[in-house]
Structure formats: structure tokens, C-alpha cells
């Protein structure tokens, strides 16, 4: 019997790839990153491949780099692979042409994903692989986790024999992240298909100085064409080679695959053609319709390239009247999508008589749901004499009218399948517990099991929905559960925010984690929810899982409790057996983390059932609570109509016409979201407050703000609104207020940690103190609204914004992002927005900051009262510096042209105005304000003039006001993938500002090592601790001599941070700020993030400095070291973080690595000290005579 395992597609594929390769070059990109992570982890612990040696895994700086390394490794004879998706695959295209052109055996494993066009998407479709069609690679598509594993082997065997490289493709997320019970392939299965002779033949083709040849020549018109045609015979053989291996595979495993596999009625008239995971749902649908007498069929495409016309035609039933080809990609402007075009060609070339009609359409872009209901809609359409061609499925296209109608209520799920949906919070462990449950059921029972997990795009307070299916037959439902017989709501608050019962079938069981007593729970459900429960006749059970978890010492991790309740109610396993299995799973999952953890989870299991109770459902809804509107009625129309449905999880219902055509969205939308995710929020105590502004500065979500205004401005303040006498010289007659947006706060408590003011009678209390949010919510909302109505302190007034205290009065134009609670990056962005936001263009590299900055539904980038604010855009991950430079080039050109026009129109516009515009000093806020007024005057004079010069100048006038270009991204961009561009942009000498939010790992993709990762830190792709020290990016930049460089850490020295931002912006040239950003990936208590920054500086791990080229002109040392010599050791800083503590727990060489890290830090510190002193010494050396004279 084959071994049964319960894994996701990524793990299933990585297992085979790791077994069948010697060299693996990797780079993280969603959704393929886990494949690289698995490979790296397995190699790190010495797991061997089929030939008994541990594959060498190398992380590269980009996918382009990975492809280059793969190419080199292949050319020297290693069995080599990589894993990638989306933009990553696009970066590999140049090498893919080479690898194919040189007839090189390799398989790249792809978790297929959308390509960034009008917007980025991390989700699945075939846009990426379709972009590589011309490279000459074979393409084998898997539709399920089982197939993904099986095809990984078949592709490898086939490439070795055919010499044509293979893309092995599974659908991103739907297959890569779907957990399924599958039959595992054994080493013997692998050996049976992979020919040792062919492996050695691959090696024999390698470059070697012992049998030298050259490959990769440059060719001329005389031979290039002919040489290109030499490969044809190789491609012609591929289909039969692949089918041959599929047949051999079937002999061993019983699973027979075909290049084009037909399912359905032998006399089908209507046939759909598609590939990937959607084909599974199509098979389910065809079987359903066939059982009801419909003459329908399906052709699953496995080998898409090389496309065998012969094999395809063979698969088409002679009875076929109409063929519908479904493409999971879009090729705008084409005659049809790629698979459609291939099928049309095949039908024309291969079927001479009774040619069926071929229509094509698109479905499932960016993991858009693809359901049997949609397919049934398509089959209905195919009945028509003239079915619609170039259609879309699953959306409502009211613009071009491409979409086919279908009945969204239609469900064909077989009754024997148990379907459960769980609504949880990212932080409550729901998904982890469900993954465990699937393993238990998949591996301990005869049931087939499937798990798919839906996440939202927030990093704090994120919602998760788990879809679990169990049944006696393999599960082909590659779509979300629409009719669940079990729904668990792990967060009571979700009842108000989402339609959690939408998928509950009639008579389903509902399990609620209720913080209320059995008597109170029903009354706390909103009226509309009660109605749904009654109408659907749901069986309701409740448990206070948080209480159970707390009582056994598990804090907020109540997943185990809910898991026990699920097993108890679902009856998948007998209760006692279920409990034993849960405990086994706990030991297996958590055992490595220590006995204490296991013990507490066991205690939770034992305590759970006693707290589970059925809830009596009355005949009528009684609740006085009603569902609140998704957004305030005061929100703008766009937010009401477009954003709100997305927020409510109903974005799928938005028609095409509702969405902007070019990806342009309004800013200032996060303010309408009101997520209410904090259990506790800070509450101000004016009596203790010293008005220093530190809390305002560090708040990652811009929810703490202050204002100073005349007393009369507070006349209409709501009850309880607090103020204090302003502690500013010259503003003593004004009132100060500090307010908290309680509905937007994430409860991170960074603010409380940095508050320096302590209550003299109770030193544990400060000027702000964490307080339960719920009782403050109503009043807090009123206070916040009133606060926003207060006037802002004028930017151009007497205060200069060079101190933290004064900066607190500037309106942040970056607010309420979905970043992690306590994020270390966002305080810097918020500061940037306060200081320069009203005149900034922001180029944002892909990564955390582009996700919390620009992932729909909302954006935190916002506008001030005048409607000014940051204009933001994300191009790619790798090109961000160049993207930002492009913005600057435009500005520079436009300014030059505008100034030329001013010069040409000096007389007609008025010499005084023109001269003032041209000579304006915009070095401070007052100067900028004055220039804005001049520009307004200029515009009024230009308005209505018919002169082309005037019209041009009018269109350009705004550039005459100083603009700032900020190029923002993380260390993955700056140190690795974008480093070449960053270096070039710095070298350009142009006036651009680069802000590196350095978290020392690829945070957004889950903490992979970058060149910013420090020696000894444990990260993905550095599982034994990174062996080399962090790159000194600042020193590289300083080597130019004309780049302003600063290294900052807000928690270590906020004044230095502020100074660096101001100096960088004022410098008329390139500036680079490297900002220490504590991160969830460090494994720290995020509330202590700022404290950790302080320790980083105190240990000299993160010395603070500023390099200002302007100082050279003043005869001063441009390098200023702002840190003092180390006063604590590296370990005193590092051991507060899990990434370093783990080193001790997993690497016996940990102490030596800590020692090496310490030495590297001290060596670097010494260099900095010398840099700081050298100028003084030089100066001293230059001036001895003068000194003597003075004496």
C-alpha cells in the first residue's frame, strides 16, 4: 500500500524536486516560496536526494539571479531546479530562452500566479506561464495536489529523455496551498522512472575543461535561422516521451494520465477544454450533468507545450458539436487567449470533417472562484445555436458584456461530503488547528480530506476562513464551500462585520466562541443574524474558548479548544478517539517546543468539552442590536459604492463598470474602515502628560494625535473631551489635546512603552494607559470626530518642525494601515508624510509597505484639508529606485521647461511675479507656502489665455512648487533585488530620497534571509543562522562622496531620526536613509519594538550616523557618528529576539556564531569611529602652526 500523506501542493512538489536534484537556486515569491523553504530546511538537516547526497540550496538576490545560477549549474552538469511564480518567472525569461535553446534538461516548478497589470495580485491564474510560451519550454499542468506530486516526477523523467526543459505548473494557492490527502511516491517509484543513464548523459553534456567546447556563441544572419530550426526533432518527440512516462507511471501507481484526457459522455456534443485546478471542478460538473443524461464532456489539458494536435484531436469525441476553451489568463488585444488559439488551430488542422465550433473565454483570474454553477452556465450557453465567443465566466461584465449568466445559488456538492467552514482571526490559531484536523482525518481515517484557507490582506486583525471537506471519495471541488453543514465562528465580533452564515446550509450546526454566558450569548447576536439562524434552522452550540485557554495558561491561543468542540459536534470520529488523536497531533506539532507547551494544550483539550453547551434558539429574533453599516454614511460615494462591498467581503459582486479602468484609486480611504480590532486602547491622562510628542511619533497607525488650538475652538467639544494648557513657549494661551482613534487603533501599546511621563503616585501608570476599548468606543468616536474638526497648526507659522515635540502637531498623511500591530516600518512613513507628505511623490517597492500601503480595499495614504497629499505608486520589486528616478527626471525636465516658459513670458505675466517665481527660496515651509501663492496667482493670470505657451505653462505650473521624490522599500529590495538600480540611482546625483525600511528579512513573504540579515540570525533560507555579516549598505553609498547617508533607529534616538529626514530632504542630491525597523519576523514582543531599537544602538549593532556631503565644503568631517561606544554586548540585545534565541536552540555552534557576530560588530564600530575621528585628526594635523600662534 502506498503511504498516504496530507500535504499541500507546495510540499508535495518540493518533496519530489528535492529528491531529484543536486542544486537548487531559490528566491522567495508568493505563492511558490514554501517550496524553496522546504528544500532549504530539508537540506539544512541533511535530508538526502535519491542518490544519497544532500542537495545544495542557494538563495539568490532575485529570480533573474536564480535563473542565471540555474543556467550555470545546468551547464556544468548538475541536476538543477528552482521554484517561482508571477514576476519571478518573468525575470527568468531571458535565461529560459537560453536553457531551451541549448536543449538542457531541467524542471522549474511553478505555482502559477497573476501578473501585476492594473494592480498586483498574489493569487492564482496562468498569466505568468502563458507569458513564457515562446521560450521553447515544455509545459505540464497539474490540476490537484496529487497530480502536482505525480507530474513533478513525470516532468523530470521526461526532460532528461527529451532534453527539452519543463515548466511544471500548478495553480497558485488553489493547488499550492490546498491541503489534500494524497498517495505519496516512494523512492522506488522515483527510481523506476528516472533513468540513471539519462542522468549521466546530462552530466556528460556539461562544460568541462577536460573536454572543452564553447556554448553560447554569437551567430550571424548566415546561420542563426538554420541553427534555430535544429531543435525541431526534439520537440516532436516530447509528447510521446511524456505519454510514455505517464504510462510507466500508471503501471507502478495505478494512476493513468494522458496528455489530453477526456471525461464525460462518449457521445458528448458539448465539450469544455481547460487545464489546471479548474479542470477538477469541471470534471465534477461533467459527471453531475452526465448522470442527468446531458451529453457533455471535458478535455483536461496536461501537456500544453509542445501542443500535440494529434493527441488533442484523438481526445475530442467525434460527436462534439461545440468546444468551449477556457483560459485562466488574459491577453488583451489578441484574437483569443492562448489555449483557445491552440485549440482552434488543432481543430482546423486536425479535424477535416464535422468540425466542431470552437468558442473561448476567460475564467478564474487572480483566484476568482470557478464553480460548477459557472460551468453549468457555460454548458447552457453551448446549447445555443450561436453561443457567445470570447466570453468571461464568474464576473458581471456590464461594460463589454462578455460575461455568461449563471445561477450563483446552484450547488452540486455530493451529500456524502462533510463540509465545514471556520471563521477565525489570524492570531487565534484557527488555521493551524484546522490543518491539524485535516491531517488527523486524512491520515487516521478512510476519509479523503481537503483544506483550503482564505486570508485577507491585513497583517493585523486579519480574518481567516478555513474550508474543510471530508468524504469517502477523492475530492474534486476546487472551489470554496457554498453549502456548509458545519460553521464555526471563532470571533464573536465577526457577526457584526461579515455575513458569516451565508454559506451555512439549512439545518447546519453553528459553533460560536462566545465571550458571554449561556444566558447572554443569544441576546448579543445581531437581529439579522438571529433571523438567519431561525430561518436556516441552525443547531447552535457555544463555548467560551478564550476563557478555557486563559485558565489553562494558553493566553489567547484557543484553537485547541475549538478543535475539540468541532470534533465533538461533527462526529467525524468517536469522541474518545478524536481526543486521543488531537493529543497525538499536539505532541507531534508542538512536542519539539517543549513539554510545557504540550501539557497546557492537553489541559485545554481536557477542559474543553465541559464548557461546550447547546444554545436554545427561540422562534423569533429578539435582539435589539442591528448590523451597523459597513462604512459611515458620510463616506464619499466611491467608498460607499466600491470600497464598502469589498470591506464586507462582497467584492466579487462588483460589476466591471464599477472599477477604475487604469488602476487609479482615491487616497484617504482607510479612515472609513473602522476595524475595531483592539481589545485595549491608550487613554490620555492630561495631568501626567508632558506633551513631548513621543507617543504621537511612534504610533505605527497614526491613531494618537495631538493639536494645539485657542480655547474657544473647544467651546463645542463633546462631553469628556480633555485638554490641557499648551506647554509651548509663545502658545501658553492655547489648549493642547491628545486624542486616540479608538476604532482604528490596533492596541499595540508602543505608545505606552515610549511614554516617559510617570504618575508620581502610581509609577506603573503613565500619561497614556491601555484601557479596555469597548466601553470607550462610542465616546471615543465622538471625540475623534471633534478632534478632526479642530484646526491644524499652520505649517508655515512660527514653529519650526525640527523637534519631536513640534512635529506632533503636523497632520499625518499616512493613517490606519493594515500593517502588523506595532509595526516598526510605518512610524517612519508616517513621519515622512507629516514632514513632506503634501509635496511628495512616493515610489514604493513591492513588499510589506506596498501591501499595507496599497492593497485594496483601502489605502492609508491620505490628503490634508487642502486636498494635497502623497501621490503613491508601486511599479515592481526590482525596479523601484529606477521608477522613482523616472519621477524625478520628469520633475526636473518639467521644472526646466516651466522656467523656460516663465522666462519667455516674463513680460506678459509680469516681471515681478516671474522673477519671484524663479528666485523663490523654498527651503522652509513659509517659502513653500509663499511659492504656492505665487503659483496660484500665475495660474489665474494664465487662465483663459489662448497662447500655446500659456496653456503649456498652466499645465506645468504646479511643478514650480518644490516637490520631493521618496523611493521607499524594504531591505529585500534595497540590499538584494533592487540593489543594482539603487546603486545607479544614488550615483546619478539626482535629487531623490531613498528610505530603506530595514527589517533584515523579506518580511512580506515570511521572513527569508536577505543580505541585510545579520550574522547568527535564524531566518528562512538561513535555518542554521546566517553565516555572514550584514552588508554595510550605508558605507557603500558613502563611498560616492556626494550621497547623503543616514542610519537611524527611531526607538534609539528619535531626534536623530527627525534630523536625518530633514537633512536628507533639504540636500539637493541623492539621499539614503537606512531605518531600523523592528518586525514580527524578529520574534519579539512588538510592544517592546522601540526598546529593542535602543538596545540595537547601545550594542553598536546598529550605530546611528549621518553623512552629509555639504559639511565638506565647510571644512568639516561629513561623517557624524551619533552613537556612543557600545555599552552592552551583542547578546544583551540579540537574546530578546526569537531569531537569535532560536540559534541556541537549533545550532550547536551558536556560541561561536555569537562571538563572530560580536567581533564583526566591534570591527565595524572601530571603522566608524576612525571615520568620525579621521577628519579631526586631519584638521589637527593641518593647523598646528595656528594653534601655536594662538598660544
Amino acid at each position: 500500500m502506498p503511504q498516504v500523506i496530507t500535504v499541500d501542493g507546495n510540499e508535495a512538489v518540493a518533496r519530489i524536486a528535492h529528491k531529484l536534484n543536486e542544486v537548487i537556486a531559490i528566491y522567495p515569491i508568493t505563492p511558490s516560496s514554501p517550496m524553496g523553504e522546504f528544500a532549504d530546511q530539508w537540506s539544512a538537516v541533511g535530508q538526502k536526494n535519491l542518490w544519497g547526497t544532500v542537495p545544495l540550496v542557494q538563495e539568490m538576490q532575485s529570480e533573474g539571479g536564480a535563473a542565471g545560477a540555474v543556467h550555470g549549474a545546468l551547464q556544468t552538469g548538475a541536476l538543477t531546479t528552482t521554484f517561482t511564480a508571477s514576476q519571478g518567472l518573468l525575470l527568468m525569461i531571458p535565461n529560459m530562452y537560453k536553457i531551451a535553446g541549448e536543449l538542457t534538461s531541467t524542471v522549474f516548478h511553478i505555482a502559477a500566479r497573476s501578473i501585476a497589470a492594473q494592480g498586483l495580485s498574489i493569487f492564482g491564474d496562468h498569466s505568468d506561464v502563458m507569458a513564457t510560451r515562446a521560450t521553447g519550454w515544455a509545459m505540464l499542468f497539474a490540476g490537484s495536489v496529487q497530480e502536482a506530486q505525480d507530474f513533478a516526477l513525470i516532468a523530470q523523467a521526461s526532460t532528461l529523455e527529451s532534453r527539452i526543459p519543463f515548466l511544471h505548473v500548478m495553480d497558485g494557492f488553489r493547488t499550492s496551498h490546498e491541503v489534500m490527502k494524497i498517495e505519496a511516491l516512494s523512492d522506488d517509484d522515483l527510481r523506476a522512472l528516472v533513468s540513471e543513464d539519462l542522468v549521466r548523459a546530462h552530466r556528460a553534456r556539461a562544460l568541462s575543461p577536460d573536454r572543452p567546447v564553447i556554448r553560447g556563441t554569437a551567430q550571424n544572419p548566415d546561420v542563426y535561422f538554420q541553427a534555430r530550426e535544429t531543435v525541431n526533432p526534439f520537440y516532436q518527440k516530447v509528447p510521446s516521451i511524456v505519454q510514455g512516462y505517464m504510462n510507466r507511471f500508471a503501471e507502478r501507481t495505478g494512476r493513468q494520465y494522458k496528455l489530453f484526457e477526456y471525461f464525460g459522455s462518449p457521445d458528448a456534443e458539448r465539450v469544455v477544454v481547460l487545464m489546471g485546478s479548474g479542470a477538477e471542478a469541471a470534471q465534477e460538473t461533467v459527471e453531475y450533468l452526465q448522470a442527468r443524461g446531458e451529453k457533455v464532456g471535458l478535455i483536461k489539458v496536461r501537456l500544453y507545450r509542445p501542443f500535440s494536435v494529434e493527441a488533442f484531436v484523438e481526445a475530442v469525441p467525434a460527436s462534439a458539436r461545440v468546444i468551449a476553451v477556457l483560459d485562466r489568463t488574459k491577453e488583451p488585444g489578441s484574437a483569443g487567449e492562448p489555449l483557445y488559439q491552440d485549440v482552434v488551430t488543432a481543430v482546423v488542422e486536425g479535424i477535416a470533417e464535422k468540425r466542431p465550433k470552437v468558442i473561448g473565454g476567460r475564467y478564474g483570474l487572480s483566484s476568482k472562484e470557478f464553480t460548477p454553477a459557472m460551468l453549468i452556465g457555460l454548458f447552457e450557453e453551448m446549447k445555443k445555436p450561436s453561443p457567445k465567443n470570447h466570453f468571461t465566466l464568474g464576473i458581471h461584465d456590464d461594460l463589454s458584456h462578455t460575461s455568461l449568466p449563471y445561477d450563483p445559488q446552484m450547488s452540486i456538492e455530493p451529500p456524502e461530503v462533510k463540509r465545514s467552514v471556520f471563521w477565525g482571526l489570524g492570531s487565534d490559531g484557527t488555521v493551524g488547528a484546522n490543518k491539524n484536523s485535516i491531517k488527523i482525518i486524512g491520515e487516521e481515517t478512510d476519509y479523503y480530506a481537503q483544506g483550503y484557507f482564505v486570508y485577507d490582506s491585513k497583517k493585523s486583525g486579519a480574518r481567516t476562513i478555513s474550508h474543510l471537506r471530508f468524504g469517502p471519495k477523492p475530492i474534486k471541488s476546487t472551489y470554496l464551500i457554498q453549502q456548509a453543514d458545519f460553521v464555526a465562528v471563532h470571533q464573536f465580533g465577526f457577526f457584526e462585520r461579515f455575513d458569516v452564515l451565508e454559506s451555512a446550509a439549512e439545518g447546519a450546526t453553528l459553533l460560536i466562541n462566545s465571550p458571554y454566558s449561556p444566558a447572554e450569548t443569544w441576546n448579543h447576536l445581531p437581529y439579522e443574524v438571529q433571523q438567519q439562524i431561525i430561518q436556516k434552522r441552525l443547531q447552535v452550540y457555544a463555548i467560551n474558548a478564550y476563557q478555557v485557554a486563559r485558565e489553562v495558561g494558553l493566553g489567547t491561543l484557543m484553537n485547541t479548544v475549538m478543535q475539540v468542540a468541532f470534533f465533538a459536534l461533527s462526529g467525524v470520529l468517536p469522541r474518545e478517539e478524536a481526543i486521543d488523536k488531537i493529543k497525538e497531533a499536539i505532541r507531534k506539532t508542538y512536542g519539539k517546543r517543549g513539554e510545557a507547551v504540550v501539557r497546557k494544550n492537553f489541559a485545554a483539550v481536557d477542559a474543553a468539552l465541559a464548557h461546550l453547551y447547546p444554545l436554545e434558539v427561540p422562534a423569533v429574533a429578539t435582539s435589539a442590536r442591528h448590523l451597523p453599516p459597513v462604512v459611515s454614511p458620510e463616506a464619499p460615494e466611491f467608498v460607499q459604492k466600491i470600497t464598502a462591498p469589498m470591506l464586507a467581503g462582497k467584492g466579487d459582486l462588483l460589476p466591471v463598470s464599477a472599477l477604475p479602468a487604469d488602476g487609479t484609486y482615491p487616497t484617504g480611504t482607510s479612515r472609513w474602515e473602522k476595524r475595531n480590532i483592539a481589545q485595549e486602547v491608550p487613554l490620555w491622562d492630561p495631568a501626567v502628560c508632558i506633551q513631548c510628542g513621543k507617543c504621537v511619533l511612534v504610533c505605527p497607525h497614526a491613531v494618537i494625535r495631538s493639536k494645539v488650538a485657542p480655547p474657544e475652538a473647544f467651546a463645542s467639544a463633546p462631553e469628556g473631551f480633555q485638554t490641557a494648557k499648551a506647554m509651548w513657549k509663545g502658545l501658553e494661551d492655547q489648549r493642547y489635546t491628545l486624542q486616540v482613534a479608538v476604532e482604528d487603533c490596533t492596541g499595540c501599546s508602543l505608545c505606552v512603552e515610549v511614554c516617559p511621563a510617570k504618575n508620581k503616585s502610581q509609577v506603573g501608570r503613565k500619561a497614556i494607559n491601555m484601557t479596555p476599548q469597548l466601553p470607550l468606543r462610542e465616546q471615543g468616536r465622538k471625540h475623534w470626530d471633534f478632534f478632526l474638526s479642530l484646526p491644524d497648526y499652520p505649517r508655515h507659522d512660527s514653529l519650526s518642525f525640527n523637534s519631536v515635540k513640534n512635529v506632533q502637531l503636523l497632520q499625518p498623511l499616512f493613517e490606519f494601515s493594515g500593517a502588523c500591530a506595532g509595526c516598526g516600518e510605518t512610524p517612519y512613513l508616517k513621519l515622512l508624510s507629516q514632514l513632506f507628505g503634501d509635496r511628495s511623490l512616493i515610489a514604493n517597492a513591492t513588499g510589506c509597505s506596498s501591501i499595507y500601503g496599497g492593497n485594496l480595499p483601502t489605502t492609508p495614504w491620505t490628503q490634508n484639508r487642502e486636498g494635497r497629499g502623497p501621490a503613491w505608486s508601486n511599479s515592481l520589486f526590482e525596479d523601484n529606485a529606477e521608477f522613482g528616478l523616472g519621477m524625478r527626471l520628469t520633475l526636473d525636465k518639467q521644472i526646466e521647461y516651466a522656467r523656460e516658459l516663465l522666462g519667455r513670458m516674463r513680460e506678459s505675466l509680469g516681471a515681478e511675479l516671474v522673477d519671484a517665481l524663479l528666485q523663490a527660496d523654498q527651503s522652509d515651509e513659509a517659502g513653500i507656502d509663499a511659492q504656492r501663492e505665487r503659483v496660484a496667482l500665475l495660474k489665474s493670470r494664465l487662465e483663459g489665455q489662448d497662447d500655446p505657451k500659456a496653456r503649456d505653462l498652466l499645465s506645468l505650473a504646479d511643478v514650480l512648487v518644490r516637490k520631493s521624490v521618496w523611493i521607499v522599500g524594504g531591505d529585500g529590495w534595497a540590499y538584494d533585488i533592487g540593489f543594482g538600480g539603487l546603486d545607479h540611482v544614488l550615483a546619478s546625483g539626482r535629487n531623490v530620497k531613498l528610505l530603506v525600511l530595514d527589517t533584515e528579512v523579506y518580511s512580506n513573504t515570511g521572513g527569508q534571509s536577505s543580505k541585510a540579515t545579520s550574522l547568527g540570525a535564524v531566518a528562512k533560507f538561513a535555518s542554521g543562522g546566517k553565516a555572514t555579516p550584514k552588508k554595510d549598505l550605508g558605507r557603500i553609498a558613502m563611498s560616492y562622496g556626494y550621497v547623503y547617508v543616514a542610519q537611524v533607529a527611531m526607538g534609539a534616538n528619535d531626534a536623530q531620526t527627525l534630523k536625518a529626514f530633514l537633512e536628507a530632504e533639504s540636500y539637493d542630491g541623492p539621499a539614503l536613509i537606512i531605518a531600523y525597523s523592528h518586525c514580527i519576523a524578529h520574534g519579539i514582543d512588538m510592544a517592546k519594538g522601540m526598546e529593542q531599537q535602543k538596545l540595537a544602538a547601545e550594542s553598536a549593532y546598529w550605530p546611528l550616523y549621518r553623512y552629509d556631503p555639504r559639511l565638506k565644503a565647510q571644512g568639516k568631517n561629513p561623517f557624524q557618528l551619533d552613537s556612543r561606544p557600545p555599552k552592552i554586548s551583542f547578546k544583551d540585545y540579540a537574546l530578546h529576539e526569537n531569531r537569535y534565541r532560536m540559534l541556541r536552540q537549533i545550532n550547536p555552534e551558536a556560541e561561536q556564531m555569537f562571538q563572530a557576530a560580536q567581533e564583526a560588530i566591534l570591527a565595524r564600530w572601530k571603522t566608524y569611529e576612525e571615520m568620525a575621528q579621521s577628519h579631526e585628526q586631519e584638521a589637527a594635523a593641518r593647523t598646528p602652526a595656528k594653534a601655536t600662534e594662538e598660544v
Binding site: P31, G432, T464, K1020, G1083, I1084, I1146
Partner: protein, 341 residues
């Protein structure tokens, strides 16, 4: 005259002399333990294994591996999945095992537990790892006003009873002095199975940082005058309770060693002096000890052990209340008689 015999026995272990390293950072590493042996120490009590710390590490690891996991599609976790984590007492036991393999001197494990299961489990593991004896570090600061002293005492005794029953190596109990009747408690510890009493545990007493208004941990190294309290109690208990006594506070020179021996201790444990002035102090103290004994013609340490205990001194009341009152009366605000003239 022949060299004085410095040999002593403690918990059934024959020791070359009475200088033993107490539980301290000196034994954090194998190199540290070897250096103690090279310096001439007679036995090493390893630093204390705190059950609470192990639990905390385990929980911290679990917490941070789960924190933020399965929340966001692009980052389902933030750390590599390790094959094995070195959490739990593994590191301590490995060090103990290596110390036994690489040194000739007795190695005494030291344990501070929380749960009854934890005490016996970790004690057993230490025995398996090769510990020659075990020191139970009974450190508990009762802050619950409803908890009676009897309950606290029973809790201590339960631990000693359970551990001694589950081990075959001897155990010593290291406690603080804060009992209503320490003599009674000492006797009950011995009844419960303790072969030795280590006097006294130094309780953690945090300090206040007035600048930042914070409570700060502040470990102060011991001073010679701290010897008085254990000296008094060893002298009182000697001969009354059948246990090996170790004195562990305030031992800095040969003089404190001599006093301890005369009070009735089998060994003196030291750390502060070695941390402050280096391991060379072991040789110097031994030299001074020998010199002092030679000068006064003592033949052996055994000869002096207990010689100044309460049962052996001419004026036993010097240890009791009468003497205390004399001391009080002898105190003058101006002992020189110069200042208040």
C-alpha cells in the same frame, strides 16, 4: 611537622578540602567548570536549573513561532521549521554529563523546581546525567497573604520527600533563614530525606531606580559579614541534627572557612570572592588555611569541625537571647566618646 589534613566529607563524598564552588555563573560552561577544577576547588555545585525558566523558554518559543502565523497569505509563518529545538533541560544535562566526563572532582547538580512533577523529573535526569549529589534550591517568595507558614513549610517538605524517594544519590537542601523556628525546619528537612543543609539561600531583593522610577534587579555580591547568620545557625544545629552542613554566604578568606568549620560545617561554598578576585583565590585561601593551621598546630580540618558549636563552647548562651541583650546594651551612639562631648 606534617602538613595538616584538609580533607573533609560532604554528602558522602570525600573531598580534598572544604572549598566548594557554589551555584553561580562560574559553572555556566564546561570551560568554567574545568577552570574551577584547575584552580583547585574540591567540588562544584553547578548553577541552578530553573524549571520555571525552561517552561518560559518553551512558551516563548511556541508563542513567537505562532505569533502572526497563518494570518496572511504571503507569510504563513515567519521562521524556518526546525528539525529539533534544544529546549528543556537538555543543555544543562549535557553540561553536567560533559563535566563528569572531563573532570575528576565531584559535580553536584542544583535544581529549582516549580511543579512537583518538575522537581522529581529534573532531579532524576540529573542523577542519570551523572550528578554525584543534588542540591535542591528551595527558593519561593510567598506573596499570597492567605497562604499560611505551615502550608509553605509542608510544600517544601513534600518536595524534599518526593525527590529523596525518587533518587539514590544524596540530596542537600539550600534554604533561606526565614522560618519561625529554623531548628525545627532543619530537623524536618532531614527527616524528609535531606542529607545536607546549605545555609543560606540569598533572596532576590530588587532595588529602586529613582531616576527612572523603576524596580530593578540588583544582585549584590556577598560580603564577609554575611557569614554571621549561617555561622550562628550551623553552630546551633551542629550535633543536634544529623546532617552535613555547608555554609554558603560571606566566605571570602581562610578566616571564614575556619570559622565555618569550627561552627560545624563540612564545607564552605563560595562564588562572590571568585567572581570578584578570580579563581586564583582558591589556591591562596588554601595556602592561608594551611599556614594558619600549621601555626596553631591543627592536625586536620576534622579536628576543628564543630569545635565552636553551641554544644561545644564554654558559654552556650553566647548564641542565645541573653547575649543578644548584652550586645544591645553595649551599643553606644558615640562609642569613641569624642563626638558628643
Amino acid at each position: 611537622m606534617t602538613q595538616p589534613d584538609l580533607g573533609t566529607t560532604y554528602l558522602g563524598l570525600k573531598l580534598a578540602h572544604p572549598l566548594v564552588a557554589s551555584a553561580s555563573p562560574l559553572s555556566y560552561t564546561l570551560d568554567g567548570i574545568r577552570s574551577l577544577e584547575d584552580a583547585g576547588i574540591a567540588a562544584v555545585v553547578m548553577y541552578s536549573l530553573f524549571e520555571e525558566q525552561i517552561e518560559q523558554e518553551s512558551h516563548a518559543l511556541h508563542h513567537y513561532l505562532e505569533y502572526g502565523a497563518h494570518s496572511y497569505a504571503e507569510a504563513l509563518d515567519y521562521f524556518p521549521k526546525a528539525h529539533e529545538f534544544n529546549v528543556g533541560p537538555h543543555e544543562y544535562l549535557e553540561l553536567l554529563r560533559k563535566a563528569k566526563e572531563n573532570t575528576q572532582i565531584p559535580i553536584i547538580g542544583s535544581l529549582n523546581g516549580v511543579s512537583s512533577g518538575g522537581w522529581t523529573e529534573y532531579a532524576r535526569l540529573m542523577e542519570e546525567a551523572g550528578a554525584d549529589a543534588l542540591e535542591l534550591n528551595l527558593y519561593y517568595l510567598p506573596t499570597d497573604p492567605t497562604l499560611t507558614s505551615l502550608e509553605v513549610e509542608e510544600m517544601y517538605l513534600d518536595v524534599v520527600r518526593e525527590v529523596s524517594q525518587s533518587l539514590s544519590i544524596p540530596i542537600a537542601v539550600k534554604v533561606g533563614p526565614f522560618f519561625s523556628n529554623f531548628s525545627h525546619m532543619a530537623a524536618r528537612f532531614v527527616q524528609a530525606g535531606a542529607s545536607g543543609l546549605v545555609l543560606f539561600n540569598r533572596f532576590y531583593q530588587p532595588d529602586f531606580d529613582l531616576e527612572h522610577l523603576e524596580v530593578t534587579p540588583n544582585l549584590v555580591l556577598s560580603r564577609p559579614d554575611e557569614l554571621r547568620l549561617p555561622l550562628t545557625w550551623v553552630a546551633i544545629l551542629y550535633g543536634r541534627i544529623q546532617a552535613d552542613f555547608a555554609i554558603t554566604s560571606g566566605v571570602h578568606t581562610h578566616l571564614e572557612v575556619l570559622k565555618s568549620m569550627m561552627a560545624g560545617a563540612r564545607v564552605t561554598q563560595m562564588a562572590s570572592e571568585l567572581l570578584k578576585n578570580g579563581l586564583g583565590r582558591v589556591g591562596e585561601i588554601l595556602q592561608d588555611l594551611k599556614h594558619w593551621m600549621e601555626e596553631r598546630e591543627y592536625e586536620s580540618i576534622r579536628q576543628m569541625q564543630g569545635s565552636m558549636s553551641q554544644i561545644n563552647v564554654a558559654n552556650p548562651d553566647a548564641f542565645e537571647r541573653g547575649n543578644y541583650m548584652k550586645v544591645l546594651r553595649s551599643w553606644r551612639p558615640d562609642p569613641t566618646g569624642m563626638l558628643l562631648r
